[in-house]
Symmetry: C2
Subunit: 375 residues, 2 copies
């Protein structure tokens, strides 16, 4: 029925497949009646090049399996008709969409944006396209988004952290999609994790502070509910404190949203106490910068009066004055590694192994000896 291979070997602009609309069996009529402006299909290319649609498909997907002559004819037709193949039809027929879905908590945190950019760049290099969804740290919302990604037929899903509703995991389980988790260490969940030790790095921060003689150390964490990274960082600080025999003072452990404003507020909260800390470990760099701004506006010297440590190592932290002591998070590396692992898996069915990156403490100028005369 498809009027492929209509004889003439030349390339004619025969676009639109049906000679007569009338005498086709009943059922739906052709949607685009004017066969003129309609986008060319593989059938049109086949007709123009005088080959079958199968050959067109081969030229597109595996050119070497077609004789140079036919290949050339098909390529000419593609160029002349401005053919763009339908990825949708391709996905349906091959059950591969060449599309990867990602659910990120936010894009307003440079560190996630950077990771995602690296992820996308690597995917694009391999012909994959990224579907993005941002959950705003809302688990319910997230499950729905995941469902939509799965509906779209993504070949794989990238998730941040292990902290997701059971329903989300179910959804993934029931789909054919591959999963990769970023920003986490391999845990109970049997999924490949590409991350680093959030807690361990936080513990190293405390080592550093303890070595400087600090004893009253505060933790301004991010919101830990539904955020295993924030939780791990806080836990790492606690662990470090205990390790060094330092007090874990409940009032000095606070949680703030990741914003400059909240960083300032958090600092104010800590310093309006009768017994302010001599050092503050922050859940991320944004919080740390906020804290520093508030200190500056109060005339409190950093690190003279108080040491402040960030987490993430945003590009700005090395340039600001004073430069921020922080934990260097391998965000781009994780993004790239995840993309590569996914593509390899999808291509050769290579197993995706977990990868743990190193997240070193970068000591700069916001940490110094504990001020004398304060406990």
């Amino acid at each position: 029925m498809t009027e492929v291979n209509s004889g003439r070997g030349g390339i004619s602009a025969l676009v639109g497949k049906y000679r007569d609309e009338a005498d086709r069996p009943h059922g739906r009529r052709r949607r685009h009646v004017s066969a003129r402006s309609a986008k060319p299909t593989a059938g049109d290319i086949a007709a123009a090049a005088g080959v079958s649609t199968a050959t067109v498909s081969r030229v597109l997907n595996n050119p070497m399996s077609v004789s140079p002559e036919l290949r050339e004819r098909v390529e000419r037709a593609v160029g002349e008709l401005g053919y763009v193949r339908s990825g949708v039809a391709r996905a349906l027929a091959s059950s591969r969409s060449f599309t990867i879905g990602a659910v990120v908590p936010t894009l307003n945190n440079a560190i996630f944006a950077a990771s995602l950019a690296a992820f996308e760049e690597q995917l694009a290099a391999d012909g994959y396209t990224l579907l993005v969804t941002v959950s705003n740290y809302n688990p319910t919302h997230e499950t729905g988004q995941l469902r939509r990604l799965l509906e779209r037929g993504v070949d794989a899903i990238m998730l941040i952290g292990l902290d997701h509703p059971e329903e989300s995991w179910q959804l993934i389980e029931h789909s054919q999609a591959t999963v990769v988790v970023l920003w986490a260490l391999p845990g109970v969940r049997k999924v490949p994790c590409i991350g680093f030790d959030n807690a361990g790095a936080a513990e190293a921060v405390v080592d550093h502070l303890a070595a400087l003689g600090h004893r009253r150390i505060a933790m301004m964490a991010g919101i830990t509910a539904g955020n295993d990274r924030a939780r791990a960082r806080r836990a790492g600080v606690e662990r470090g404190l205990r390790k060094h025999g330092l007090p874990v003072i409940p009032g000095l452990f606070i949680e703030k949203r990741y914003s400059h404003a909240d960083g300032r507020a958090g600092f104010a909260e800590l310093f309006d106490r009768p017994d302010p800390p001599t050092a503050i470990v922050c859940g991320n760099d944004v919080l740390a910068m906020g804290a520093i701004f508030e200190a500056q506006s109060r005339g409190i010297a950093v690190p003279g009066d108080v040491s402040i440590v960030g987490y993430d190592n945003l590009s700005i932290t090395q340039h600001m004055m004073p430069a921020l002591t922080t934990v260097s998070v391998p965000s781009e590396a994780m993004g790239r590694a995840a993309a590569r692992a996914i593509v390899e898996h999808l291509t050769d069915n290579a197993e995706i192994g977990s990868i743990t990156f190193h997240a070193p403490l970068v000591v700069r100028n916001t940490t110094g000896p504990a001020p004398a005369g304060r406990p």
Copy 2:
């Protein structure tokens, strides 16, 4: 052939449609031989609910067109079998993918990330999913990415700025996809633009500086090649200078990549001249922050010795010390407006009109009177 409507009205877990694999006509065999674990299809739901696939489709897309009784049966089957409909098949059949493509120059600029996040959030609220691609300001790369988005069958495309290869515009023209351009004013190109006046706001910056008595004004622009926003900002500064009868000194107009490091380098370049400017207009906030860091490290007072103006109004600029004078760019508003316009167009075929937002100058503490004793 499809064993839909197999009699029993109850919901049975009859997953997989073919009773016997043997006596089907030749052609491709079933891909997933084990009909067991395969994902349920509309046919399975239909069979389980004792209705036709058409009814299943109706329940999913327009529940009110189905009788309560059948609707309920279908919904039960959907829940019990954990059915997730194939968006791919849906897109092919309906030629609507409920998917929107975006090509952004970078994600490492918080302002784009914020805009994109708002765009995605609004799209998600209407059931659309976002396909993202980042061009890294590379036009060739960009055309390829656009092509891939179009292949994926996106219903619409969001582009940043009007500065794109002719081939990109062709591609869009030939596709059925709707386009919306962000960050630009309606121009020669006949496409809806949702943006603000980059040049006008830059001109307002010069007004402000001129009023403060500055006469040697420098412009540290972003890279203008292939970036109409950067170009417009630079042009706005030039226009403002001429308007006020101030000199446009070529050596004081430099271009830098949008990074803190380049901002520092640019400042150094300007201040290593025998005749440094008394004010610097920066192409964006990142450049401005870099300039301020360099000034601080050289002991040059801001705004005492030099005034510095940013562009974008990133959240950090209001908190840093001194707080940055900058242009407030309506990034989220543009993202949201674009999403809404697209969805409305796709839903009701509403025409997409161009929208021009206001981008006011926010005067803070990095601008002050021109220092006396300097030209």
